[in-house]
């Protein structure tokens, strides 16, 4: 926990520094009020930097165990139930990449094919097996969502390769 607090403190300190630099770069305006568009962002950045430094100092000073509340919030409690912890980062990155890939391929493949691919890939990264049944689930899930979003809600999705069914 000490290391996590330290890492969190360093991360937020970096966020505060970057945000402050961006805040001071906001141009002044002739219409500006006493506080101005930079005013509160600078205060937020300085406060976050100060709190980050306190957290860093506190975590360096003490190696206390996690608080009960903290334990409840983290996925650590689930860690003991994870079969192979080594695959955890890969699976999480895989899940994110699936989302990114969906954004990239949607304009090319259209909704139906993209969402079927997303479901298939997600089944795999959630620990499922790719077989005939999972493909069937992916296709039927995609059709259900197509009916909901395109047929019922009339959402305009990119047409892609298959414009008649977007």
């Amino acid at each position: 926990m000490r290391n996590r607090d330290l890492l969190f403190g360093i991360t937020t300190l970096v966020v505060a520094v970057v945000y402050y630099r961006l805040a001071v770069a906001i141009p002044e305006s002739d219409l500006a009020d006493p506080v101005g568009p930079q005013g509160l962002p600078r205060v937020y950045a300085l406060l976050l930097a100060a709190l980050s430094l306190i957290l860093i100092a506190r975590s360096l000073r003490s190696g206390q165990p996690a608080t009960p509340n903290a334990e409840r919030q983290t996925p650590q409690s689930a860690e003991s139930r994870i079969p192979d912890p080594r695959s955890r980062p890969l699976r999480i990155i895989g899940m994110l990449l699936i989302g990114v890939a969906y954004i990239i391929v949607l304009p090319w493949l259209g909704y139906l094919l993209s969402v079927a691919a997303l479901i298939t890939a997600t089944i795999y990264f959630q620990g499922g097996v790719i077989n005939g049944r999972s493909i069937l689930v992916a296709v039927s899930g995609a059709v259900c969502l197509w009916l909901l979003f395109i047929w019922l809600l009339r959402i305009q999705y990119p047409a892609g390769l298959w414009p008649s069914v977007v």
Binding site: Y19, S29, L31, P34, A66, T67, N69, P75, T122, G141
Partner: protein, 492 residues
């Protein structure tokens, strides 16, 4: 509200189907372990964008009502609470199931949820408007102070780590500054992107933090136990049982009513408090932990009361006291309805519609809760990878549908990563959500108040409402700091 106008309201809009639909969706979502009421509501948020505003808020609030009951289904059938609030129900509900009384436990849970929900509804109707009427005299300085009071809620939400809660709140405030400056119209932190000019909608932050991060967590969580259809034929309580569970229901409802209004308390705390108090006041204390019907009735009445009373500070002051209330607040903001003092003046019909919808939702819970048991068990028994894949597809499709924007999908994914990181670092979500939701109100009113007072900072303490709200915020923060200091002292 007159009965005639209530009936007219119910039948002139789609409130009834929305209430029934929301409850059904909520029960299904709540029944899935890991999918909390707030996630169930967040999944629905994008769909409500194009709806009539009254129907949209009824749908979301009814989802909350349904999810609180839905969480008890896996708690009783497989010993895994579908929601945090149902954790107390596991103790005696699952024990009853092991004794072959699953149907009875489900019936007690449903009936107690109904009783608690109706009680919470009455408290909501009686208190909300009175509380908000105080706030009709609000000026920009009062609104700023109200926002600060809202942020002070972080002290209660952050648990034992006030420092990290405050940091998360600040990050939320920073997110709220993205977009066009509220006074000068200058662009801030937009990096030339036209999509960022109007800022980051709170809905994307919520879907990312709650739903996407849960997907990432579930990636490495094992599958849950499966229920069988035979275990779940609901049996409503007999008259003798009604009499026996009346007291724990009253205890649960009273605790739920009080705790629901308290920032950060939520359903989980009130359920455990109700369980504990019901045991203390029971004539059958020895049965608790061994399949006591009272041990199911008290927490279920409490968490369904909370589903209504948690809306009191949200509707009257614009301060969400729980994750689910924050998502509902996001739904209001999406429809340009600003909860707080003026909501009752400017959009009284929406509030009346919400009241009517909540009443219908509580009745609908009783009906749908009975009918939907089969589909629920079917759903809970599906392989987890299939369910999660479908939910992920629903998330990305719903976020796109919100403004037909792939950029928004990317933003929600990015906040999913932030949410996962917050979980990893043991930082609560709600302070960040509060920062995002209240950030604009705080900044715009702070600056307006200073413009109106020619830059005099004493304007915030000269206005009695503003001074009282700021003083309350300071007291809340100080009390939490003292509590932490005391608990640290005890630990030594």
């Amino acid at each position: 509200m007159a009965v005639g106008s209530l009936i007219q309201l119910l039948f002139s809009t789609a409130i009834i189907p929305a209430a029934f639909g929301g409850v059904a969706w909520g029960i299904l979502g709540g029944a899935l372990p890991g999918i909390s009421p707030s996630i169930t509501m967040a999944l629905l948020l994008p769909f409500t964008y194009g709806m009539d505003s009254t129907v949209a808020v009824v749908l979301l609030a009814s989802t909350y009502v349904g999810a609180e009951y839905g969480g008890s289904i896996p708690a009783i059938l497989i010993g895994t609470p579908g929601t945090n609030a149902a954790a107390a129900t596991v103790i005696d509900g699952y024990e009853m199931k092991r004794q072959g009384k699953a149907g009875e436990a489900l019936g007690i849970s449903l009936y107690s949820g109904f009783v608690g929900g109706l009680f919470g509804f009455l408290v909501l109707v009686l208190l909300t408007e009175r509380l908000s009427s105080v706030a009709l005299a609000f000026t920009p300085s009062s609104y700023f102070a109200l926002g600060m009071l809202g942020l002070s809620v972080i002290a209660s939400l952050a648990g034992d780590s006030l420092l990290k809660g405050l940091m998360a709140g600040l990050v939320g405030l920073m997110v709220a500054t993205i977009g066009t400056d509220p006074v000068t119209g200058l662009n801030r932190f937009t990096f030339g992107s036209p999509e960022l000019l109007s800022g980051i909608p709170p809905i994307l932050v919520m879907v990312g933090l709650f739903a996407v991060s849960e997907m990432l967590v579930q990636t490495t969580a094992p599958d849950w136990e499966k229920a069988t259809r035979e275990t779940a034929r609901i049996r409503f309580p007999t008259p003798a049982m009604w009499r026996r569970i009346a007291k724990p229901q009253a205890i649960g409802s009273a605790i739920g009513a009080f705790e629901g209004m308290m920032p950060g308390a939520g359903g989980a705390i009130s359920s455990f408090l109700a369980y504990n108090e019901a045991r203390r006041w029971s004539r059958h204390r020895e049965e608790f932990g061994h399949g006591s019907p009272e041990g199911v009735a008290a927490p279920e009445a409490a968490n369904n009361t909370v589903a209504c009373t948690a809306l009191i500070p949200m509707l009257s002051l614009g301060i969400p006291s729980s994750n689910s209330a924050a998502v509902l607040l996001g739904g209001f903001l999406m429809h340009e309805l600003v909860p707080g003092p003026m909501l009752f003046v400017q959009h009284g019909e929406v509030v009346r519609g919400l009241y009517a919808g909540l009443l219908v939702a509580n009745i609908a819970m009783l009906i749908i809760g009975y009918l939907i048991m089969g589909p629920c068990i079917w759903l809970v028994s599906r392989p987890k990878p299939y369910l999660m894949a479908f939910i992920y597809a629903l998330v990305v499709s719903g976020v796109y549908a919100f403004q037909a924007s792939l950029f928004n999908v990317g933003v929600a994914l990015a906040f999913g990563v932030v949410g996962y990181a917050l979980r990893y670092f043991a930082v609560p979500f709600l302070p960040m959500v509060l920062g995002v939701v209240l950030g604009f109100m705080i900044e715009s009113n702070y600056r307006r108040a200073l413009v109106l007072s020619n830059g005099d900072p004493l304007t915030f303490v000269r206005n009695p409402i503003s001074a009282a709200l700021l003083a309350t915020a300071v007291v809340v923060l100080a009390a939490q700091l003292m509590r932490q200091a005391r608990s640290r002292g005890d630990a030594r």
